[in-house]
């Protein structure tokens, strides 16, 4: 997805028949499981729909017009965007220092804490979401604390969604940053100290810029996963607070308006792809020469 990190030295290339044969299994998998459903969904967006008769034959742009002109849907797109951006920003703020501390730890502790960081990935997302809903709910520890501080209820607010998303996404930020920190030459920091830089200056001007490729690829992953997340907004946002993925679910399974649901899904995919590609291009341009 992102090519800012230096790959291993190029291996001998495979050409001709072996290459074609080798590519067949993955191509079949990709064609049958990704391209076909995506193509069918895309075709579906142009089908007229009637609540009495269901999906009709023919082509129309009616659903696109509906989504792009209805403030309800636009509001949901906007909320999805800012929640994803905020989640990404918080993941950067927490994940980068955490990865740095992790990379500074000594042998036994580093593995233990790395496992602690990664352990959430081993637990089902739904279980974790329910865990948060108990904590954030009116009877939960954090929910009660928030009420005592006068912040009002937490569960079923954007704050709950962001908290849940940050918790889920943090490993996806820490791992790429940690990887790029691993590649850092420890004497580079010594060099900075020898040139009179303070600890903070060294962190900000020497260490951080060098792990920027990791930060940026981590934020791409976190943003992409957050924008299309379903379980967390569904369970922590409740019935009323929607993000795009939950609206798609509603259109398909509650309203049974498949073409509208498909249109929302395609527009989400499109927005996600455009944002991530633009971001990737900016990164590549600024780091290609220096960090390869």
């Amino acid at each position: 997805m992102i090519s800012v990190q230096a790959g291993p030295a190029p291996r001998r290339r495979l050409d001709g028949l072996p290459a074609v044969l080798g590519a067949i299994p993955v191509s079949l998998l990709f064609l049958s499981l990704v391209v076909t459903p995506l193509g069918l969904t895309f075709v579906l967006t142009f089908r007229p729909f009637d609540y009495n008769t269901g999906i009709q034959a023919g082509l129309t742009l009616h659903h696109y017009a509906t989504v792009l002109s209805d403030p309800y849907f636009l509001g949901i797109f906007w909320r999805t965007l800012w929640i994803s951006v905020l989640t990404t920003a918080i993941c950067v703020a927490i994940g980068v220092p955490e990865a740095y501390i992790l990379s500074r730890m000594r042998a036994p502790w580093r593995s233990i804490f790395l496992l602690a960081v990664l352990s959430p990935l081993l637990i089902s997302l739904v279980v974790r979401a329910f865990g948060w809903s108990m904590l954030l709910g009116p009877a939960g520890l954090i929910g009660q604390a928030a009420r005592a501080l006068g912040w009002g209820p937490l569960l079923y607010t954007p704050a709950a969604i962001v908290i849940g998303l940050v918790h889920i996404m943090l490993p996806f930020m820490i791992i790429p940053v940690w990887t790029s920190l691993q590649k850092l030459d420890p004497s580079v920091e010594h060099a900075a100290y020898s040139l009179n830089a303070s600890r903070l200056q060294t962190l900000l001007r020497v260490v951080l810029p060098q792990c920027m490729p990791g930060v940026l690829s981590g934020s791409l992953i976190v943003f992409g996963l957050s924008a299309s997340s379903f379980a967390i907004p569904a369970l922590l946002g409740g019935r009323r607070l929607k993000m795009v993925a939950t609206v798609v679910y509603d259109e398909f399974l509650t309203e049974l308006n498949w073409p509208l649901g498909a249109t929302l899904a395609i527009l989400l995919l499109l927005a996600n792809v455009i944002i991530m590609m633009a971001y990737n291009r900016v990164i590549e341009r600024s780091y290609r020469r220096s960090l390869g």
Binding site: V188, A191, S194, L195, A197, Q210, Y287, S290
Partner: protein, 364 residues
């Protein structure tokens, strides 16, 4: 009063004594090398001076100021790291200017001094490049410019040339010395390469198991090594086991048939000693003439020199002669070996430290 002084400097890692009671005085403008095999504590010594390793005992005094426990970023020393440790995300120019920016040097002066430093290492054309776009030798120069631009009182070089190929290493050696002469910066270099240490230093410190075993000018170090280890480590040496047969101002030592008249200082009758002969001080002569006769077992062509392995009644002997255009001796040929009386060195027969000699490979 010396400029940089190490007083009984010691470093322990648990029970392991990496550096032991190192005393060293470096004068202003002097170029001193710490020479030793890997694991002898030379890099640890440098790190203690730089402040990257804690000092267990002893003191580091720079220009009258005790910096033993000063933070590394307050010492103001210029350091060139073995890996160069350039900032990969900054251009060559910004790498060099980094130290000046940290010292809050004004923009105009910063630019001027950066340009000067890059000109000094002949890289003024490459200021806008990134380190990864440079060759190894060029990166080395950037590292040197970056360390020198802050006008440090002392320049510390940690194996600066070990990552360069042989030809470049030789060129950089002389250039390093020329730059050091020009700037007059007091320099301490760590190296395991004796040729490097001898060729460019004012003084060489041989380190062995955490101790400085000899501190001398390169020529004296080579001509009068203090121990068998130093003799082997600094250049090649032939050793002949011998016994002192007559003590006095001039002593007589005997090794098999060979009887040598040497300086008798420190020798007493009956001592087991080792006679050292540098291979390049041995002259091949006609068989039967000279002090010894032997058979050539192998010869190696080194370009400017010939290296002969001889089999003599006293054991194997290595002879190094200039390639002066005359026909070399063939394998199996019998030749005589002669030498000047003054080139003979006598060392105590027993190494005080066991296990030192076995580190040496490939020396006769």
């Amino acid at each position: 009063m010396s400029f940089l002084r190490l007083e009984k400097l010691s470093k322990d890692y648990g029970d392991l004594r990496v550096v032991r009671d190192l005393d060293l005085s470096v004068e202003q403008g002097e170029f001193v090398s710490l020479l030793g095999p890997s694991g002898c504590g030379k890099t640890t010594t440098l790190q203690m001076i730089a402040g990257f390793a804690d000092v267990t005992r002893g003191r580091v005094v720079l220009d009258g100021r005790d910096i033993t426990h000063a933070a590394p970023n307050t010492r103001g020393l210029g350091i060139v790291f073995q890996t160069y440790a350039l900032f990969p995300h900054l251009t060559v120019q910004d790498n060099v200017a980094f130290g000046l920016a940290m010292r809050k040097v004004g923009r105009a002066e910063r630019r001027e001094r950066t340009r000067e430093a890059l000109a000094l290492v002949k890289l003024d054309q490459h200021g806008d490049r990134y380190p990864r776009e440079l060759s190894g030798g060029q990166r080395q120069r950037v590292a040197l410019a970056r360390a020198l631009v802050i006008r440090p009182p002392v320049l510390l070089l940690d194996e600066p040339l070990s990552n360069l190929d042989a030809k470049l290493r030789e060129d950089m050696q002389f250039e390093l010395r020329a730059i050091q002469r020009k700037t007059g910066t007091t320099t301490l270099m760590v190296t395991h390469d004796q040729a490097e240490a001898l060729s460019i230093s004012d003084r060489v410190v041989v380190m062995q198991e955490g101790r400085a075993t000899q501190i001398d000018r390169p020529y004296r170090m080579y001509e009068h090594p203090g121990s068998e280890f130093i003799s082997r480590f600094v250049g090649k040496t032939n050793f002949l086991p011998a016994t002192v047969t007559r003590a006095g101002a001039r002593a007589e030592v005997r090794s098999g048939e060979l009887c040598l008249d040497v300086d008798g200082q420190g020798l007493s009758q009956g001592d087991a000693v080792r006679v050292c002969l540098r291979p390049e001080k041995l002259l091949p002569v006609a068989p039967g003439q000279g002090r010894l006769t032997g058979t050539v077992t192998t010869r190696y062509f080194l370009g400017s020199q010939w290296l002969y392995e001889l089999d003599t009644p006293l054991g194997a002997l290595t002879v190094l002669t200039p390639n002066d255009g005359r026909a070399p001796h063939d394998d199996g040929e019998r030749i005589g070996v002669d030498w000047q009386m003054e080139v003979v060195r006598v060392l105590p027969g027993m190494e005080e430290q066991g296990g030192v000699a076995q580190r040496q490979e490939g020396t006769p």
